[in-house]
Subunit: 326 residues, 2 copies
């Protein structure tokens, strides 16, 4: 484990335990099967990053009440809901090292359990009694479903632009990070300027987080990410490293990359040669630089806050998003 990861975990250990407990207590299913399916994805060792961000942002804004853990579950329930629906999209076998729910049970059961988690998130949002929070959560769900549809629609489309990519990752990832940070500020009764600053923090962190995730698909092996390297590519999902490399490569390399992309049964050797081309044509370095730039913007949003241990943890989390290996 890196020093940075250890430092963060030590600082948020108590919060993570409280969040874990809240996730179990607030699920509140009516039927046992719902509990099983939702629990299968919920309690498979997620990082709890989204609820943690909400709790930390509320505290940064001076909130000291005891409702944040309950409200923070919204962001993990929403996240788990999209994972359940995504696994259907992606056709993956494993998620967080466990067999995906739609294989343990079946597609409809996984979809309906996702619906339930979505509804739980919205119910708990309704319990805040804060219209701003409720609207934020509803808009997150709208954006996420549309981002996923867009991504699906553009599968295998080699003309996908960097702007299209940014649009997709904003919808499918950044809005949830942004919503978690924003809700933390809203629950704390922060001023509009502070709410905006933390929304911006979440937005840029979310974009960087997704870029780092997309990079991992080309740079990590099975054991640490819990899914096969090259999975995005196999699904025809074009991400920034490839989009950038395609835009820069000479025609001969471009055609070699497209040929690999268009054959979902590409070999390990072909994948390695694709990664080499991504490196050679700047796709990896460009994506790393873009992710780093968004982390910088995220950290800049925190400058309006006085230096404090809470601000430092958020800064550390932002830095860690760039270097994480899983």
């Amino acid at each position: 484990m890196t020093d940075l990861k250890q430092k963060i975990l030590a600082a948020v250990d108590d919060d993570l335990k409280t969040i874990e407990q809240a996730l179990a207590e607030n699920l509140n299913p009516y039927f046992e099967l719902v509990s099983q399916v939702a629990g299968h994805i919920l309690f498979a060792g997620g990082k709890r990053l989204r609820p943690l961000l909400m709790v930390l942002c509320a505290r940064l804004c001076g909130y000291s009440g005891n409702h944040t853990a309950r409200f923070s579950t919204i962001f993990e329930y929403l996240h788990a809901a999209t994972l359940l629906h995504d696994d259907l999209v992606d056709g993956a076998d494993l998620r967080r090292g466990r067999q995906v729910a739609n294989q343990v049970w079946d597609n409809p059961t996984a979809v309906l359990a996702g619906d339930f988690l979505l509804a739980r998130g919205l119910s708990i949002a309704a319990d805040t009694g804060l219209c701003d929070v409720i609207q934020t959560i509803a808009r997150i769900t709208e954006n996420m479903s549309q981002g996923e549809i867009r991504q699906l629609e553009k599968r295998g489309d080699i003309t996908l632009s960097e702007d299209d990519y940014l649009d997709v990752i904003r919808c499918k990832t950044a809005v949830l990070f942004e919503g978690a940070c924003r809700t933390g500020a809203l629950v704390a009764g922060a001023t509009p300027a502070t709410v905006q600053a933390l929304s911006d923090f979440g937005h840029h962190l979310g974009l960087a987080f997704q870029m780092a995730d997309d990079l991992l698909d080309y740079t990590q092996d099975f054991s640490s990410l819990g899914k096969h390297a090259g999975a995005d590519l196999r699904e025809g999902k074009l991400t920034l490293p490839l989009i950038h490399a395609l835009s820069r490569a000479p025609e001969v390399d471009r055609q070699r990359m497209v040929a690999i992309l268009e054959n979902p049964n590409f070999t390990g050797t072909e994948f390695v040669s694709l990664v080499e081309m991504l490196k050679c044509h700047g796709g990896i370095a460009y994506t790393e630089a873009q992710a780093a730039a968004h982390i910088q913007m995220a950290k800049t949003s925190l400058q309006q806050f006085e230096d404090s241990p809470m601000r430092e943890i958020l800064m550390d989390i932002a830095d860690y998003a760039l270097v994480r290996k899983a």
Copy 2:
């Protein structure tokens, strides 16, 4: 067309037009594909019964503003979302006479479009600014997803009791009717007693509506219902006519019914003989009587209102739920 249907349609003609327009105007998709998939199910000639109930209930409570059409779309969006997810469950080919969305596109696209519709419903609910309404909508979604999972879990289970069945149809159907009527009252600023009376009206109407629907599966042909007779049976979905008949039939007939139920490839002749047994052992008559009893309870809930054209239409709709043929 029956006289009753004609009378109702004449009375609500303007409302239906306004609702239709609101459904198109409030969908508000960000990407074209979302609009296509959601529109495929939304604009295939639905009855708009749920939004209509909301509008009529608000007016019965004295509401004369112009926000009901927008808010009423919530109930059609939620309904359409569950249809999109249900078609995945049911494996049907046709819905409202059109090829189902998960065949025109694919499973993931249909699921994500359903998520979007769900989210739109919740976003519009958030726009009411009424916490009661928002909580009602969030709870509807929780209940519906759980009811569907329960139904799926119990597929082919010949021990399903009448109570289990009531639990499922309450979750999957009655909560949405109840929520539509309740929201109409809430938007109109009705007293708690009135809100409760209209919630009860919706609850009983929803139960009766689902019972009538379940009866149609045994009594209607392809042309009028838009799906094959016996579809529920083919999916192993036990509904009240069969549950009741199984509980009453002598062992020899019980075994004949179970044999047909357990063979999804039953022939037309076998289906006809099953329907005969349902009639012979009181399954059809009992379900009709239960549906009629719930309609009576629904109408009783309206007795606290003074006689008015609006109350009469709601009474007529309740009566029509029993006799409708599609």
